[in-house]
Symmetry: C2
Subunit: 136 residues, 2 copies
DNA sequence: TTATTAGTCTATTAAATTAGTAGAGTAATT
DNA sequence: AATTACTCTACTAATTTAATAGACTAATAA
């Protein structure tokens, strides 16, 4: 399961993808539109800005906006940067790998199956982009 | 990520699959063989017994064993019964569905992508069985 | 029938993670 | 100068996770 934080991030990005090109969107507009607690959303949007997906403008007419065209950012990247590993176990993670203390990874059956699962998941998440999050 | 509990369950089942047909295996043998805290493992094996995957014998010559041939139990079932949902968000889960309060599921972009991801994951996990967990 | 083996059950706990809140501060615009 | 709106630090409550302790029960064999 994705954390609530990651789910909110995806919903917020879907909204920003939908209004890409129309200037900044208010935090409050996203919070209301997507039913996200506003103070929690602030943290999430700051994170998304820090990792280079969003940028923001202060003052009147301010808000958040996508730094790149929605199709340029894939969902695997977003999930990893906000929510962490996509793999189901650490010893099979490409970006958050941790050595398995309990087994020999070369022969471990669990490892093998989980690597296959990771590949199947990534095949989807690496192809889908923020543009796919737009409602409609 | 799967919980440690689910990971331990899969490892234990892999060992039991490997010795299927050779009679019961001691909890302590599984704990040592797979590096699992024994008291935690007891809880896990009891759970697996309750859901009908394992059975056990008490007393000398006792232990745990698979109730069915390893190929009869697929991994999606195990993960769901021990670890919960496989889907990344509740509104897309087949077995642990929860209505999304924040959107119209029919038009939600996040929902659509997550359903695709779930399908890709299930395609693997429903085909793989306990037999695939055997080390080698 | 007693000793031994080995699974069962109840309860508790420590640590980590998650989800959310409060409030003061800073920057941009008009 | 006033207003708007993002930024930052700090905190807290709730939940989940990962165990641990110890008493109990059932089966087997000498």
């Amino acid at each position: 399961m994705l954390s609530k934080k990651t789910q909110y991030a995806l919903k917020a990005l879907g909204m920003l993808a939908g209004s890409y090109g129309n200037g900044p969107v208010l935090i409050s507009a996203i919070a209301e539109g997507k039913n996200i607690p506003i103070k929690f959303l602030e943290i999430i949007l700051l994170d998304l800005k820090r990792v280079g997906i969003l940028d923001s403008k202060k003052g009147k007419g301010g808000g958040y906006y996508l730094l790149q065209h929605p199709k340029k950012t894939n969902l695997a990247t977003v999930i990893r940067q906000i929510g962490g590993p996509i793999a189901l176990i650490p010893c099979v993670s490409l970006n958050f790998y941790e050595k398995c203390e309990d087994c020999d990874e070369a022969t471990c059956g669990v490892n093998k199956v989980m690597a296959q699962t990771r590949d199947a998941t990534l095949k989807i998440l690496e192809k889908r982009t923020l543009a796919d999050l737009i409602d409609g």
